[in-house]
Structure formats: structure tokens, C-alpha cells
């Protein structure tokens, strides 16, 4: 087990280097001069510009800049934003908010997707199944910002059940609506995957054998059908985490959630290289960690691929 984890962590190193390099390169290649952009509408003192360039290592060749930046990350220092705040502090402030939002969304997603998928799969071809398939098709077809605006309008303005924008400090109650919107983007996939998986499992021989042993439906469905059907669903949840992060960037913007996605969005608009690279790097790391966890969980769910022995 430890050997497996070690191997996976080692595998993550080239992925980490590759992604940071690519992102850094792309930000470097963006048009415009970030230093000049700091002085809109006037020409700054060349001495000041030169000093700033030196401070941010912008006078060095690209590859040197990259390695200086990488060295900083390895020491746990992501550098400064252009407004002079430590990026570490910004991350520390915004991350917990996004974590709560993503956690809530993931919970909604797992519960609703798996439950609806299970019932649909068991009642294949019946009214419930047809309805949920139609609804999920609708959700797949709509871009997430459309769902967000509609939800904002209906639940926030018309019905007044929730606030349209998240207040300061991002109380969890305010995050429910954005979380539901975020979850809805992946609901269809999870629900359909569960449904297909349940239909397949329910037709397998060991399910009939379970019934033939005298077990009741109340026992066979959760223990033999659902349990086995969850294996592909859990794997999908892991890979879908990326979609969730992208969705969070859009959803946070619309609901004005002071989280990672929103900050990243602003930084991209301002062309703040170090901030963008740092945030994306952290997201990549998070994605790698989540997928490692999912793979380990996969081993727990399916004894056939339990790692080493």
C-alpha cells in the first residue's frame, strides 16, 4: 500500500512540472507589459520600471524566471500579487470558501445523482425513469451560466428563498444555491452513469443467486446492486472534480463568492502572471490529490484490484 502511494506521488512530480511550466509559459506569452499596465495612462520613471522588473525578475530570460518561481513554490512561497499582497495569504483567505462550496456541491451531486440513478435504473422504462432522463438531458444541454442566472432569478428574486449574491464571510446558508447550481452541471452524468451501472448489475448472475438464497429486495438492492454499481460512479466523481473546479470559477463569478475561482478569474482579466500560475498550480495539485484518493477508494470498493496482494 505504502509502495503504491509512493509510486503515485512520484508519478505526480512530472505532471506537476509539466503543468506549471505550460501555464507559466502561456502567461509569459500573453500580450502587453504587466509593469506598464500598473501605470495606466502615464509613462513611469524608467528607473522605477527597471527596479520593478528586477524585483519581479522580469529582466531575466524566461527559463530563469520559471526556475526562480519554482524554487519559491518549493519553499512554500508563491510570491506577491501586483497589489503587494502575499499570494499565500490570498490562497488562505479564498480556499476555505471554495472548499465549502465544492464540498456542498459534491454532497448534493453524489446524493441526488446516485439516488435518482438508482431508482431510474431499477424502474427502467417507467415514468420516473423517463422523467429523470428528460430532466438530465435538459441539464446537460444548458451551459452552467444559464442555469446559474435562471436559479438566481427564480429562487433569489421571484421566490426570495435565497440571496442572489453571497455576503461577506460567505455564510454556508448563502452557498447552498451556488452549490446546487454547481452540482447540477454534473448531475446528469452521475445520474446516467449510476442508472446504466445499476441496470447492468441488476442483470448479473450473482444478483439472481442472492435472491435465490432467500434474501429480500431490501437487502439485495443496497448490498449487492448499489454497492457494485458505485465502483464506476466513484471513479467518475474523481475525474469530474476538474469539471467542478471549472464550474466553480464561473459560478463564483456569478454569485460573487469570494473564493478561489473568482479571484483567479479577476487575476486572468488583469494579466497577473504569478497569481494565475499560483492558483492554477494549487488547483492542479488538488486535482492530483483527489484522484489519488479516488484510486485508493477504488481499491477499497473493489477487492479485486486491491493494491499489492
Amino acid at each position: 500500500m505504502t509502495g503504491y502511494i509512493l509510486r503515485r506521488v512520484l508519478q505526480a512530480i512530472p505532471v506537476f512540472l509539466g503543468t506549471t511550466f505550460l501555464i507559466y509559459f502561456m502567461v509569459f506569452a500573453m500580450p502587453g507589459d504587466p509593469i506598464l499596465a500598473l501605470f495606466p495612462g502615464r509613462s513611469p520613471d524608467p528607473a522605477v520600471v527597471a527596479q520593478l522588473r528586477a524585483q519581479y525578475h522580469l529582466d531575466q530570460p524566461f527559463i530563469v524566471q520559471y526556475f526562480i518561481y519554482l524554487g519559491g513554490i518549493l519553499q512554500g512561497n508563491f510570491g506577491l500579487t501586483f497589489s503587494g499582497e502575499a499570494i499565500n495569504d490570498v490562497l488562505a483567505r479564498t480556499f476555505p470558501v471554495t472548499a465549502r462550496l465544492a464540498g456542498l456541491a459534491l454532497t448534493f451531486l453524489a446524493i441526488s445523482g446516485i439516488l435518482v440513478g438508482l431508482v431510474s435504473g431499477l424502474r427502467k422504462g417507467k415514468l420516473f425513469d423517463a422523467t429523470s432522463l428528460a430532466v438530465s438531458l435538459l441539464l446537460i444541454s444548458l451551459p452552467i451560466f444559464v442555469i446559474a442566472f435562471v436559479a438566481q432569478f427564480v429562487f433569489g428574486i421571484q421566490l426570495g428563498w435565497a440571496r442572489t449574491t453571497v455576503g461577506s464571510g460567505a455564510p454556508t446558508a448563502d452557498l447552498i444555491l451556488p452549490a446546487v447550481v454547481l452540482a447540477s452541471a454534473s448531475f446528469a452524468q452521475i445520474m446516467r452513469l449510476t442508472r446504466a451501472s445499476v441496470i447492468e448489475t441488476a442483470g448479473l448472475d450473482f444478483v439472481r443467486t442472492a435472491y435465490s438464497k432467500g434474501l429480500s429486495r431490501g437487502r439485495v438492492i443496497p448490498v449487492h446492486i448499489l454497492r457494485n454499481s458505485l465502483i464506476p460512479v466513484v471513479t467518475y466523481l474523481g475525474t469530474d472534480f476538474g469539471t467542478l473546479l471549472v464550474g466553480a470559477t464561473i459560478t463564483e463569478g456569478i454569485f460573487n463568492v469570494p473564493g478561489v475561482g473568482n479571484t483567479l478569474f479577476q487575476a486572468i482579466k488583469r494579466g497577473e502572471g504569478p497569481t494565475v500560475v499560483s492558483f492554477v498550480t494549487v488547483m492542479v495539485l488538488l486535482y492530483l490529490v483527489v484522484n489519488l484518493l479516488v484510486d485508493l477508494l477504488y481499491g477499497l470498493l473493489d477487492p479485486r484490484i486491491r493494491y499489492v496482494k
Binding site: R208, K213, G214, H224, D302, R304
Partner: protein
């Protein structure tokens, strides 16, 4: 069938007891896209307490449907449309879900067909046995585990207490089947339905398991409804036989009577085609059979087999000249595997194997699963490289052939694999499938390929219009014919048949075997025939190599091996052929 009424005979013994199970005029059908399709058309069947009755028939005859109908576990859209299933006088067909749950497991146990797919892979063996015990209220609390161990030990799992926590994939097929038998009998049901309980297992394992099942059910006084496609096996294991054909019972009565004197034409065909019985017949009563009244066309094919075997023996005498198509010299294959603690270990799948196959003859490679026979096939086809040893095809060493030469080797040597469902691409029509080797090897143009395809279809006795159909529209036997046609497309000299008939029903098996025999004499093919089933060896092969744990333990002509097996292992294999110790014709 022109004769709808079952040919009934008086049972040898009459009991005063009330029957345990009485099925009256049972009709079952399935709702499909093409409307309602009946599967059972009025089944009548009686089973006394403690009695063993076997239902025999080919796949699709409705024997499994009958079993599933009894415990009300018909798959998908199947339902009972008419008739009664009386179990101790209670009609199971009219019970609700809850009442049925109490019948299953507790009164009627079920042992399913395929041990590989009938245990849930994500739960431990112990968990699955214990849940059956709890559901039937046999034990509670700590006693459940104790009872589970007892049940598994009874079923022949000696080290049950230490292996309880292991998962199905850590058990062999035979061991899993023991677990399933243990579960089926856990609640001491009065009736055990065994649906082809051993057809997925090797013959030797099959015999051990069935012997054990017979002892166990006799000791517990359990009645057994034994379902099988193998007539020899049924006759050996049950005192009463029920023969099913197309959803009807065509014949029933004492096993011996039916085997010796089958009345219904279908039963006669079945008796004639059963390889386990046929292999006996070639020596013992071949004469007697040729006098018997046969119904064409299948029974005639059964005769072809015997003739082919005889003429082959004659031909062999003449062609003794050394003209070897395949020479294998001290061949070994070592695999790296992961040991108990995850450390690397070496596993010798093939160990110092040598044999020679003469041109135009058939060599059978026999052994249980895991004996290394399929690995030999892979090495011959150069799908894998040998660790040691030499393989000469037509006098040329194949070990270092590259690109072009390898391609021409493959042209000379073609395989046919076991599973006719898995070895054809479902998205390609039959014509394209057969023509594919021609395309790969750039033989001919479009028109000549099409001509060759219809020629091949004709050779394997399939209609030419089949070329535009897809594999899912074909039966198992037709598919295997297609696989043979594909193998013959390049006019190979050598065909490697890896369990090519193992997955087929007996009647279809007989057809494919005689097709292979015909093609051999027509085209002068050399066969390497790999099988676990000694029964088919006798009708198809000239030479036999018996493999055990990667080594050849015995190698000789077919007749010598059958009449005079030297190794204990070979004797075991021979004795395990179902029906082999059934004295045919008293």
C-alpha cells in the same frame, strides 16, 4: 417436431408419498420487441422427496427457464402465463414476493451454472454465506459464523475457517462451485435445483464436485432437480431423465431405459451425438449402432464421425513417412508473477515440452485448465515468445522471424478460438469478417475476395447470403463455422484449434467436428486440437499429448491412450468423462 406429446414411461418405483414438487401444464413466455414469445409450452413434471431427476436438453430448450420459474426468478420480462407449480401442495406460481422469499433458500435451494459470475466479487466468501444463513433465520449472533464454516466444510472446503475472509477472485472455479453448493444447501432445503452446476469446470473437478453433491444430498435427504445439456452426465447422476426440446418435454422415464432405447427422434439424435457416449461406441458397439434406426440429418453426421475416425486410422498406417508439419523441441515459457507478499516470482507455464505433428494429421493437446496447453498455442502462433526451446514449422525455426516472414508464417497457420461469441467482431458483417485475413495479406481484389468468401461459406456449409448478416444474428454453431471459414480463408496448412468446440451444444459440437474432419481429408490440413475434453479427442485426433502443470506426461496414439493409459493422471481424466463408466447396452 411432429410429435407434440411426451413419450411417457412408467417410473420403476412407485412411492406412496405425496410428491415434493409437481409441475402441471406450466407455460412461460417472454415479452420481446417482436411480441410475446412462449418459452415453455405446458411442462408436466413430478419429483418425489429425496429423488434425483435430471432435465436434459440443448441451450434454448427451456430447461433453465423451468428452473427459474420454480423459484420465480425469471429474467427480465419473463412470466408464468399458465399452469401450477405445486411444492408440497402449495402453488408457488401464485405466491407474493414476501412468501416467495421464505421459499427460496429455506425450502428450495439453488446452485447456479457459472461459478465465476455467481458470487458477488466485492464481498468476501464468508459474508455471502453468512448473509444466506441470516436471511433464512438458521442461526443468529456468533453462531452464524460457526454455522457458515460448518456449511462450507460440508461442501468440501476443508480450510473454510481460514479462507472465509477471502474474496471470490482468490478461489478457483471448483472452490467457488463448492461455496455455491454450500450456500444452496445452507438452510437444508427439501429441494435443490442444480442448474448445470459443473459445466464450466474441468471434467476431473466436475466429477469430484458431483460425487460430493450426491453424497451430501443423499445424507440430507434432499431431492435434486439436476439440469444439464450432457446426456451422459445426466444418465450417470439421476435415476429419472426428462428430455426437453423447444419448450416441451419430449420424453421422460428411467435414465437407463431412455439411453438404451430412446423413443423420441430428438432423444435419439441426442444419444447419437453425445461425445461421451460416442467415444465408448467406436470400440464397444459401433456395429450395433450402425444397425440402429437413425433419423437424418444429424444422426448421419454422428455416423460420419465414426467413419472419419476409422478411415483416419487406416490412412495413418499408410502415411508413416516422416513429413512433420510442426516440430516442437524442449519448449518452455516462464511468466513473472506476483507472489504472496507481492514479490516477483517465476511461474513455468510450459516446461520442456516436445512433440511432432505429421502433416495432414491431428494432434490433440489435452489437459485441465492451467495445464499450459493454451500457452503452447500462443507460442506456436507467435502471439508470445518462448523462453526456451525451438518451434519448427515446415522445418523453419519461427523464433526469430520478423515482419514479412512472420506475416507469411501466419498465412500458413491460422487459429480458431473457443468462444464463438467473443472471437467475432460484432460490428463487422460475416462477409467482411471472413475476408479480413485476405485484405490484411493483400490477397486478390475486391471481386475475387467476394468469390472466395462465398466459396468458404459453402465449404463450412453456411448459406452464401449469410455474408451480409452480423454475428449477433447467428447461433453459436453458425458463428463457430464462420470462425473456421475465416481461419481457412488464406488456405493455411495448419489450423490451431484452441477449445474450438468446448462452448457448443453436443449436437452442434458433433456438426463442427465432422466439418473439421471433412475439411481435413479434403484440404489435407494439419490440426493442433487443444481441449480439456477427452471425449472429443477420440473422434478427431490421431495423436494425443496429455499435459499436466506445463509438462507432457503422456504422449501416444489415441487408441493407446484410451485403451491403455499409462499415467494415473490420464486414467483420472478418462474416468472423469461423464457417462464413461455407464455401461452402454448392459
Amino acid at each position: 417436431m411432429s410429435e407434440p406429446h411426451p413419450t411417457e414411461r412408467r417410473a420403476g418405483t412407485r412411492t406412496m408419498d405425496q410428491p415434493l414438487l409437481e409441475i402441471r401444464n406450466l407455460e412461460v413466455g417472454f415479452q420481446t420487441q417482436n411480441g410475446f414469445v412462449p418459452a415453455l409450452n405446458g411442462i408436466d413434471l413430478t419429483l418425489m422427496p429425496g429423488q434425483t431427476v435430471a432435465i436434459v436438453g440443448e441451450s434454448g430448450s427451456g430447461k433453465s427457464t423451468t428452473a427459474h420459474a420454480i423459484i420465480n426468478l425469471l429474467p427480465g420480462s419473463g412470466r408464468i402465463t399458465k399452469g401450477e407449480i405445486l411444492f408440497e401442495g402449495r402453488n408457488l406460481a401464485s405466491l407474493g414476493d414476501r412468501e416467495m422469499e421464505d421459499v427460496r433458500g429455506k425450502l428450495v435451494g439453488f446452485v447456479p451454472q457459472d461459478p465465476m459470475s455467481n458470487l458477488n466479487p466485492v464481498w468476501s466468501i464468508g459474508f455471502q454465506v453468512e448473509e444466506a444463513i441470516r436471511a433464512n433465520g438458521i442461526a443468529s449472533g456468533k453462531d452464524v459464523k460457526k454455522y457458515a464454516i460448518q456449511v462450507l466444510k460440508e461442501a468440501g472446503l476443508a480450510d473454510a475457517d481460514t479462507r472465509m475472509h477471502q474474496f471470490p477472485h482468490q478461489f478457483s472455479g471448483g472452490m467457488r462451485q463448492r461455496v455455491l453448493i454450500g450456500m444452496g444447501l445452507a438452510a437444508r432445503p427439501k429441494l435443490l435445483i442444480a442448474d448445470e452446476p459443473t459445466s464450466a469446470l474441468d471434467v476431473t473437478v466436475q466429477r469430484v464436485i458431483l460425487d460430493h453433491l450426491a453424497t451430501l444430498t443423499r445424507d440430507l435427504g434432499t431431492a435434486v432437480l439436476f439440469i444439464t445439456h450432457d446426456l451422459g452426465l445426466a444418465a450417470e447422476r439421476a435415476e429419472q431423465l426428462v428430455v426437453m426440446y423447444k419448450g416441451r418435454i419430449v420424453e421422460s422415464g428411467p435414465s437407463r431405459e431412455i439411453l438404451e432405447n430412446p423413443l423420441h427422434p430428438y432423444t435419439q439424435r441426442l444419444v447419437a451425438a453425445a461425445p461421451s457416449l460416442a467415444s465408448r461406441r467406436i470400440v464397444s458397439s459401433g456395429q450395433k449402432l450402425s444397425e440402429a434406426d437413425y433419423h437424418p440429418p444429424t444422426s448421419a453426421r454422428g455416423m460420419d464421425l465414426i467413419k472419419a475416425a476409422e478411415s483416419r486410422a487406416a490412412k495413418n498406417e499408410i502415411e508413416r513417412a516422416d513429413d512433420s508439419a510442426i516440430v516442437v523441441e524442449s519448449l518452455s515459457k516462464v511468466y513473472k508473477i506476483r507472489g504472496e507478499k507481492g514479490e516477483g516470482r517465476h511461474f513455468k507455464a510450459v516446461d520442456d515440452v516436445s512433440f511432432t505433428v505429421q502433416r495432414g494429421t491431428t494432434m490433440a493437446l489435452v489437459g485441465e485448465s492451467g495445464s499450459g496447453k493454451s500457452t503452447v498455442a500462443k507460442l506456436l502462433l507467435r502471439l508470445e515468445d518462448a523462453t526456451q526451446g525451438k518451434i519448427m514449422i515446415d522445418g523453419a525455426d519461427i523464433a526469430h522471424l520478423g515482419g514479412r516472414e512472420l506475416l507469411s508464417l501466419r498465412r500458413k497457420m491460422q487459429p480458431v478460438f473457443q468462444d464463438p461469441y467473443g472471437s467475432l467482431d460484432p460490428l463487422r458483417n460475416i462477409g467482411n469478417t471472413i475476408a479480413e485475413p485476405l485484405v490484411v495479406h493483400r490477397v486478390g481484389d475486391r471481386a475475387s475476395r467476394r468469390k472466395r468468401v462465398s466459396e468458404l461459406l459453402d465449404q463450412v456449409a453456411l448459406p452464401a447470403n449469410l455474408s451480409t448478416r452480423y454475428p449477433n444474428e447467428l447461433s453459436g454453431g453458425q458463428r463457430q463455422r464462420v470462425a473456421v471459414a475465416r481461419a481457412l480463408a488464406l488456405k493455411p496448412e495448419i489450423v490451431i484449434l484452441d477449445e474450438a468446440v468446448s462452448a457448443l451444444d453436443v449436437l452442434v459440437q458433433a456438426q463442427i467436428l465432422s466439418l473439421l474432419a471433412e475439411l481435413q481429408s479434403e484440404l489435407g490440413l494439419t490440426y493442433l486440437f487443444i481441449t480439456h475434453d477427452l471425449a472429443v479427442v477420440r473422434v478427431i485426433a490421431d495423436q494425443v499429448c496429455v499435459m499436466k502443470r506445463g509438462r507432457i506426461v503422456e504422449s501416444s496414439t489415441v487408441d493407446e491412450v484410451f485403451d491403455n493409459p499409462k499415467e494415473e493422471y490420464t486414467q483420472g481424466l478418462l474416468a472423469a468423462i461423464p457417462g464413461a463408466n455407464f455401461e452402454f447396452g448392459r
